[in-house]
Amino acid sequence: MDFKKILEEMLENVEGSIGSSLVGMDGIVIDQVSRNNSFDINAVGAEYSSIIKNAMRASANFGLGNTAEILITTDKATMIMMLVGKSYFVALALNLDGNLGRGRLELKKAIPKFEKELS
């Protein structure tokens, strides 16, 4: 499995990225890469999995269809999460000065790679 390689590639290509992870919808992290020891990307993935489920429900209830992406901005970081199929999501954490647009782009590019590995 090349999950780590795909995750590392994303980090390399996105300025200001802190870490990335591939997480099951049950919150269990499949693989992760982190550049910052103080930032527990494992915990992030697990913590936000239930939020993704809630967001999916809200999207459906608002008639917006299936959820594709969730972006969370806090005082300290930005987290982008994109769905990989129905059972997984990939998360990318960025510093506040990180390149958000590039981050979204790299995540979108990585999704088919993950899907291929997971199929």
Partner: protein, 398 residues
Amino acid sequence: MAEAYRKEGSLDDAFRVCRKGLEKNPDYSNAHLVLGRIYQGQNKLDDAISEFKKVLEIDPENLMAHSLLGSLFMQKFDYKAAIDEYQAIFTLNPDDEETQKLLKVAIEKAANAPQTGSSNESKESSAEKKTDSGSMASATMAELYLKQGHLDKAVETYEELLKKDPNNAATRKKIVELKEKIAVDSFGSAPNKVESHHAPNLKTEKAKQAHLNKEKDSKFSDDDILQVMAMNRNDKVAKPSEKQDLIESPKTDMKTEVKEPEKKKSLSESQPVLPPHQFSQARIDVLKGVLAELASITGIRRCFLTSLEGISVVSVGENSNNDSLEKQILSIFKETSHSADKLHQGSLQQVLVTAETGHILLVSFAGGILVVLADHQINLGMLRLAMDGAAKKVEKVN
């Protein structure tokens, strides 16, 4: 041995052994328990009660004695005493579902018991009474859960109550308040917590006071039960037509809580919904203007500002008036905020959910949460810029 005789049906032998044992050891609680059961078997209810009470004098946490006393009091139609016993078990073991049911039945029976009610009450049909007492029992149970600090169970009970009576604004309000309290408790303090959104409300204040006192006395007193029942009697049937009379709060307060059926509104129809009192009318007017400006951006379907308690303050654009959606949105924001806090990521600024045909943007804004629903084609960069501009305008007003 006495218990063995009793189980065999040899009550006289059982009685003799018990008496003999108690002569030697009057504080032997099991002997009193068996003796009580013998009396119960002989239908000597008062003697049985007396023995079970002796058990509790020796061993106040004897669940069997409480349970047997509860059932005896129910037999004697002394529902208040039965409630005391069941709630004692409930205090010792809050997860005892059987006792929860028995307690609820006792409260219902107590509520249905003849009393010197008002003339209005006497006019109620028996069916209505049954429904109301059932609801009151549930509400009382919820309040009792609250008093013991079981907020999650209280929420569950209130939600069941709301299913039966979806228009009960008071119940809905309590659920929102409790969920807020649970969220606050679970992560220390809520983000951008607003002070209070409700106009003074005597009943709410009473309930809060009861809740605050729970640490002092985790066991319900007779007065507690009666107070809660009385409280629920007052607001149990908060039917829309009666709400204005029942609740001593500004009329606008109720107006916003009673949602109309789903309907669409034009962009120009800003909804003057229930202002939590920290949102003054002047502030709401400014917010309306700011939101209307936001809504004029191509691709934005709807903007609404909700207080941290889940109450709509201002809404502009397509309006579904769907209460549960607003609560869902609120819970996403709170849960995310909780997670961010747990992960030491600082306070939550915004959550953007992108779906197949649109976006939901949640932003901490003006002491509440601004929710923007937008089409998929919207330029997110422009939207963020517009949001920043809106936030600045609101800050100026503050």
